[in-house]
């Protein structure tokens, strides 16, 4: 059987696709990637559909090996440390995995999430139309849980892509700056103007208590103008709810579908990935944008995904001769080229 064997997995490595959409009305959280742009980029680098299943890797890291046959995989996302049998690769990489070669993903210089996509298709049975893992409700992925050492993910139609080791150019994943764009609302009227001003000018710090469900924010306490209980309503990804004691938290991919705390603002869709990549302890600020500005940012995000993907074959100087012989490189070195 051809597939990917998990050799070691830190907490929080999960199979994701675009998410389990269409079931919110029945209390089902969509889940899906924390950084949708990085997720789609990894899939594009192996020629897969942008919303195909891929593995989301957290700061806990992941070690995998191909079994049954060689096939190509791509990694893209935060600046993680990627090694193949101990040889360092760029954080955004496409590489052919020979059986038994060990691909290791570890936290690097920046970023909280990276994505591992395969040239082929993870053969996992969808639940309510999606393989996205939501561990809290036990849906999707492998038995609704995070990946663990020993797990095997079958891969259909595995392919080996050329060049067999390449750096993937992902300029759109360089998203510097720690100012996150938000649209105020839906319950900004639960806060007086001075509290909105505090929210928009304070330095916030990503709390250590941050995960796929929510990113906690440390900073000043925000005071509610008319209590902190609302009649429960829907929660969009990126909603910033303010709890009873005045602490804001950003609700992320694994959020509850509905809730009863006022939501002062919502992180716009194209900024969610950038926020998700901030590590606990990182400082950030929020800046208000209009719906027109938010839609323009969304348009730019869509265009980044349409741009031709540049792959640069890695040269011999970056690898030992033994290593390259072991990889059976065809043509050895080539200039950067596009994949279709």
């Amino acid at each position: 059987m051809i597939g990917l064997r998990v050799i070691a997995a830190g907490p929080g490595a999960t199979l994701q696709d675009r998410g389990r959409h269409g079931w919110l009305r029945f209390g089902v959280t969509p889940a899906g990637p924390m950084d949708r742009l990085a997720f789609a980029t990894a899939n594009r680098a192996v020629g897969a559909a942008p919303d195909a299943p891929a593995i989301e890797v957290s700061l806990g890291g992941l070690d995998v090996a191909a079994e049954g046959a060689a096939f190509s995989v791509a990694v893209a996302g935060g600046s993680f440390r990627i090694t193949l049998d101990g040889h360092e690769l760029p954080p955004a990489t496409r590489v052919e995995l020979e059986p038994r070669a060990r691909l290791s993903i570890r936290p690097g210089s920046a970023g909280s999430w990276t994505y591992l996509a395969v040239a082929g298709r993870f053969d996992v049975t969808p639940v309510l139309g999606s393989v996205a893992t939501h561990t809290r409700s036990g849906l999707g992925g492998l038995q609704g849980r995070a990946l663990a050492a020993g797990d095997f993910l079958p891969v259909c139609e595995p392919r080996c892509l050329r060049p067999s080791i390449a750096r993937v150019a992902t300029p759109w994943l360089d998203r510097p700056g720690n100012t996150i764009s938000v649209m105020l609302g839906p319950q900004d009227d639960y806060f007086d103007a001075d509290q909105i001003a505090v929210f928009l000018t304070a330095d916030w710090t990503v709390s250590a208590r941050s995960d796929r469900m929510a990113y906690g924010l440390e900073g000043p306490r925000l005071h509610h103008a008319k209590g902190f209980n609302i009649v429960s309503d829907g929660i969009a990804m990126g909603a910033i709810q303010v709890l009873g004691e005045g602490r804001p938290m950003v609700l992320m991919a694994d959020r509850q579908p509905t809730g009863g705390y006022p939501k002062i603002a919502t992180v716009i869709g194209p900024e969610l990935g950038r926020l998700a990549q901030l590590r606990p302890g990182t400082r950030l600020r929020f800046a208000p944008v209009s719906v027109t500005q938010a839609v323009a940012a969304r348009q730019a995000e869509a265009q980044a995904l349409m741009a031709p993907l540049q792959l640069e074959a890695l040269t011999r100087t970056e690898f030992s001769p033994e290593f390259l012989l072991g990889l059976n490189l065809i043509g050895g070195v080539s200039a950067g080229r596009e994949i279709p």
Binding site: S137, P186, G234, P257, G269
Partner: protein
């Protein structure tokens, strides 16, 4: 202060909240469900999904396909005749075993309310409930219409995980909790019916807006119905209301 409803609130650039009121009220919820039915019947391009809740409808959309202003114009047009879009209501009769091994808190509920245990069951099974909304977890739906005599405060400390398919009361509501989980609510009974089963079509038994009643059954009937429900038979009865 009076608010003009409906209000259009942004939940980011890809979700619009249409709010019809501030409280829990069947008339407000009716307006939510009417707009939900109308927009799902029309399915304008760019509509992703809708989430009906007590007093608002969240509309997820793709703003690169439909602009916010056009979506609002569509909603305003649909609201004119929205009430006509609703399909006939449905009323479910859900079997429920209230015997002490199943409704373990009935004695406590009787103490807190000053009612006899028999009267607690009579009141719970005598009411007709409205499915207001789903939330919290898959298949977890909130049922309004609990008789006011049964409105008890929550537990002081959460109980260890209850059995699957437990019927709970708390916070002036009742609900059926399909999965075993810790709870701050009170266990009043257990149903053999599955509100949510992935292997059954439909996976979710009831829709928001449906009416629901509980019918007392004994432990023998529970065992027989539970065996059928485990094989994905629907053991609740459904009537279409005019």
């Amino acid at each position: 202060m009076t608010e003009a409803y409906p209000r259009f609130l942004d939940a980011g650039e890809a979700a619009l909240v249409v709010e019809f009121g501030a409280g829990v009220d069947p008339a407000i919820n009716d307006r939510v469900l009417a707009l939900d039915a109308a927009i799902l019947a029309e399915r304008p391009a760019g509509l992703s999904e809708t989430v009906p809740t007590y007093r608002s409808l969240m509309i997820h959309y793709d703003p690169l396909v439909i602009a916010r202003a056009d979506l609002i114009a569509t909603v305003e047009r649909l609201l004119v005749n929205a009430a006509a879009a609703r399909r006939p209501g449905r009323r479910w009769t859900i079997p429920c075993c209230y015997e002490p091994a199943y409704g373990e808190d009935i004695g406590r509920i009787a103490e807190m309310t000053g009612l006899t245990p028999e009267r607690v069951v009579e009141l719970h099974a005598g009411a007709t409930y409205r499915v207001y909304m789903y939330g919290f977890a898959p298949g977890f739906c909130y049922l309004g219409g609990l008789p006011p005599q049964l409105a008890v405060s929550r537990r002081e400390t959460p109980r260890a995980p209850h059995p699957p398919n437990t019927v709970l009361i708390g916070g002036g509501l009742t609900l059926v909790s399909t999965f075993s989980m810790p709870t701050g609510w009170w266990l009043i009974g257990r149903t053999p019916e599955r509100m949510f089963s992935l292997s059954r079509h439909p996976a979710f038994l009831v829709d928001v807006g449906d009416a629901l009643r509980f019918e007392p059954i004994d432990a023998t009937a529970f065992a027989a119905l539970d065996a059928r429900a485990a094989a994905d038979d629907i053991v609740a009865r459904r009537e279409i209301l005019k």
